[in-house]
Symmetry: C2
Subunit: 610 residues, 2 copies
């Protein structure tokens, strides 16, 4: 096996971690005791950290990056000669967390083993390393130590805290405990608490470490061997959970029975076995078993509650703006948990964007380049928005609203439809645009001064565009309803160009009139005389400006007339408050007494629950 | 914590395993050496087994049940006083594997630790237990030992082999190596080989055992302690993989921080931790670590190849009839692997039924009662079919075809539609019914003597009915095409009452004309004069016998006229060979010169690729 192919094989999110010194680390020591959530205290705390970029005079450009379970302060290279950082794709000059603009601070967590006070630090009571006498620490304690560092650096309010996985837990804790000190919070691949399955893997890992005969109750520092086998086994388990099943197949299936020749005492019968053995052995070189236990236990005990209600209490009070990102292939911190966070924030009227990035990389996706073009740019746009210069980063080619939507039904007469909807929305009203596309309507509303506006959209590229436009948009399939939203949460809910593409129309309509005090819904009309004539004359399903597809390839799976829609509203107890009927081909409005069901190809309704 | 709630908490698929003697086990010792696939041999082999029911005079009613990794010969109780068996739900008088009808044989596998020769058996060369000197065994070796037992019992051909998980591997191996000796093969929650992810968990488990300092290279039998910690850790890992994430949440979330008070050296900080500790400790009492290594390694090395091509070679030669069952929540043996098996069998024209049972129980589903009403009855029907008395078990209430289909469009005139389709199918033709519902059409074809008939259906209750009717049906969403089938595999492919409910009509039509030498397709007609008149007169989307739903709740998401369908065929290079136009309301055929596009509400087309 050549070195080159070995490198490819073993490359991964943690491959470039260094085990030696961190030459760029700085150290801040706080001699005032740190009270711990468990009730104990640490007499003195040292925090190792690295910084990038410059703090501006207003101290308003600081971004705190929180690392995951086995990370450290070295988030990125400081220069070309520097060792790789664990998030070089994200942090650096011109990168999404742009060190030319922002002052980036990345501390090693409390309990860690890379410079910050942890189990390997000297216990003042004994003069020896703490080992298992290191007090139980929590995510809250980690954040309190970070807070001291931030104050020490002269920063009163952070522009943003950003973190993935356990780093996301720290961000959530910042929101929970010190929300007033953070303008923006970006959490990636994280959770309000671990799932039982994820927790179970950690339990097994800790059992392997603690039952290793070299563990010696945590006092192994003077020994020839520490609990290396146990720690390696915990790490092997971790590696399985960081990858998706698909990523593992991709990596190992083809060479299943061709293990790499690694120097190890572990099984190397299968390709995947040699990989795990290598990763396990390598990890022991750079990580301390007591830290692994302390940090994984802190992560496992982090708990913002099971239900969205508790979560709403915990997170709803913050003034911060939020970005929540998950990955579809992540089974360690599965997307439904990011959706819970988003649900709680939406319920609390917090400005939040959410996207579940389609990715086959598993939990590791947040550290890898594969899907970075999408979520990296979302973070870039988000930070620009929090910094107050969001729309300045707008790309040139997104000034044309709606055109990216597959259900787009207007080819020439945008202005007519636009004007009509804008005219129906009272000045200053709060608006939810259900199916907002690239955010055309929301942008107009923003320009008109509406403050509380939000979008729901399914397509992740559209969401990226919306965020870059300075808008708050959460990803959701309208077929699954609007359950994140409260009754009557918005003055207006808009459903534009979409009703005919929804499978479960009844459920969605119920949701729209529940969430909106009024709803503005545009309906394409099969009863339009040109369509009916076409059917009668050709004996074929009609096509038109408003129904431009063929019967077999249209995304529009519901066909209805204006009469049908009106009957439906009658039946379901929905009041039609107003209707504007349009002949978009002719570019004119059809008065009510001129048979809209025959003469309009589209109508815009204002409706509400009776 | 009361004993009662503790019992509930720890109950599960393996809870009732006994660790003492197996009083009903019989033993067959074969002194002729067993040649092993690895090249070695075992000088003598003993097989422990249990039997249920009576072998009939024709020796034609024997069912071999193959157990999974940690099972044994005690598949079921022998009487009311007997200890529970591991598959009591499935095997017994009146159960799906009915011991009143069948002679059931369940052997402990080679390499096991419950009576059959394994690592704990005495090595004739040393007079001590083999330990790690026990030769490498394979699933093939296990099956060869089973073959000896079956011959020893005077059985030339098994009515069926049945097994789940690693038991399924044994069934696949029976097909591969001794297909002529088995009439029916039922595989449940199994795979052609383990996924890399599943394999990885086994590797970590074996590492934990082998690196346990009490392992002593496998010669721990005389010691006070064996590799108990390592074995318990392997088992904990196993338990996580047997449950689905949903099942774990259900079991542990509510009492997350209330661990049960178990007597263990392992961590019991969390509810799930106490569960794993208990299960791990308990397993050590009843299982031998060397066996665990030998059997899990045999399972991991079982490999019928990565692609469907290899699999087709391996399984395609058998004459057996097949039943393949997977569970949607199973991530250890995920459904796509059962689909690979089905794909290979379908490609090879093997009679096969397949269903992926919707279940939240994970891999353990095949041992639990939760979803048993569905898959248990499929196995019952399958065994009846293999025994040649399939339709005798037909329930009374399924004589009415089609009525369960949500896209059902005929309310009164079944006979007309039926007759027309039957008349268009040449006698003896091979037929695939795409969207076969409860198998009404296929049953008529069977009665008319068609031998090679098969159904594709999505609904699992419909599939169950089909199997009970003696039909072979594979589960598949027609929107995902027919890729399991070969070009021109069937004389006729029928798509009845379905085209209007398919989203991707183009892709499906391509598939139909690829797989069928001719296709018979029924098309409901929006051009029907009564529908058009209704639209013109009422200004509303029409409803009729053939389109009985409302615009917002119909499963029929494609509306088309006969002209539209004919245009489509023209455009796509599909020849219309024949058309039968019907007015099903009036109960008559519309001749071609009487404007079918206006006067028929439905037409049946015979088409084929140009």
């Amino acid at each position: 096996m050549s070195e080159t192919s070995r490198d490819d094989f073993f490359a991964g999110s943690d491959e470039n971690r260094i085990s030696g010194d961190l030459p760029h680390a700085q150290y801040a020591t706080f001699d005032e005791p740190l009270a711990l959530e468990s009730g104990g205290e640490l007499a003195s705390v040292t925090v190792a950290y690295e910084t990038y970029g410059r703090l501006n005079n207003e101290t308003s450009n600081a971004v705190l990056v929180c690392h995951a379970l086995t990370g450290d302060s070295h988030v990125a290279r400081h220069d070309a000669d520097d060792a790789p950082g664990w998030w070089d794709i994200m942090v650096g000059p011109g990168k999404p967390i742009d060190t030319d603009r922002f002052f980036v601070v990345c501390p090693n967590v409390l309990g860690g083993c890379r410079g910050t006070t942890g189990p390997f630090s000297t216990n003042p009571a004994t003069g020896r390393p703490y080992g298992q006498d290191f007090p139980n620490i929590t995510i809250g304690d980690m954040v309190n130590a970070q807070r001291r560092l931030v104050e020490h650096l002269g920063i009163e309010r952070l522009l943003a805290v950003v973190g993935g996985s356990m780093g996301g837990h720290q961000c959530l804790q910042w929101a929970h405990a010190h929300g007033e000190a953070v303008a923006g919070i970006a959490v990636i691949a994280t959770s309000p608490r671990l799932t039982s399955q994820s927790l179970a893997f950690d339990v097994v890992g800790r059992n392997a470490i603690r039952q290793d005969p070299h563990f010696n109750d945590g006092q192994y520092y003077g020994q020839v061997h520490g609990p290396d086998t146990g720690l390696a086994i915990a790490r092997m388990l971790g590696h399985i959970t960081y990858l998706s099943p698909v990523a593992m197949s991709r990596k190992f299936e083809a060479t299943r029975n061709q293990p790499r020749d690694v120097d190890t005492d572990f099984e190397k019968e299968f390709s995947v076995g040699s990989y795990l053995a290598y990763k396990g052995d390598q990890f022991v070189e750079r990580f301390d078993a007591n830290s692994y236990i302390a940090l994984s236990m802190a992560m496992d005990q982090f708990d913002l509650g099971e239900g969205v209600e508790t979560l709403t209490e915990d997170l709803g009070r913050t003034d911060s703006r939020w970005l929540v990102i998950s990955f579809s292939g992540d089974w360690l911190f599965p997307p439904f948990q990011s959706k819970q966070i988003t649900h709680a924030l939406v319920q609390s009227d917090r400005p939040v964007s959410f996207c579940n990035i389609q990715s086959s990389c598993g939990h590791d996706a947040f550290l890898l380049e594969d899907d970075f073009d999408r979520y990296g740019e979302m973070l870039r746009g988000f930070l620009a928005n929090v910094a107050g210069d969001g729309t300045s980063s707008l790309p040139e080619n997104i000034d044309e609203p709606y055109t990216q939507s597959p259900t787009y039904i207007f080819h020439r007469q945008e202005r007519l439809d636009y004007q009509s909807i804008m005219e129906l929305i009272p000045a200053g009203a709060s608006v939810l645009d259900a199916g907002c596309g690239t955010g055309g309507l929301l942008t107009l509303l923003k320009q008109r001064g509406h403050e509380r506006i939000m979008g729901v959209e399914l397509d992740e590229l559209n969401i990226r565009t919306c965020i870059r436009r300075g808008l708050d948009v959460v990803q959701r399939d309208l077929n699954r309803g609007l359950k994140w939203f409260r009754d009557g949460q918005f003055d207006c809910v808009v459903l534009s160009h979409t009703i005919q593409a929804v499978y479960d129309v009844e459920a969605l309509m119920d949701e729209l009139v529940r969430v909106g005090k009024r709803c503005i819904i545009s309906v394409p009309n099969l009863g339009y005389h040109k369509l009916v004539e076409q059917l009668v004359q050709t004996g074929r399903t009609p096509q038109a400006e408003t129904l431009p597809f063929k019967w077999y390839d249209t995304p529009n799976i519901r066909v209805l007339t204006l009469n049908d829609f009106q009957d439906f509203c009658d039946e379901k107890g929905i009041d039609i408050h107003m209707m504007v009927a349009l002949d978009t081909e002719a570019g004119r409005e059809i008065p009510h007494d001129q048979h809209p069901n025959r003469n309009a190809d589209l109508a815009i309704y204002v409706v509400r629950r009776s």
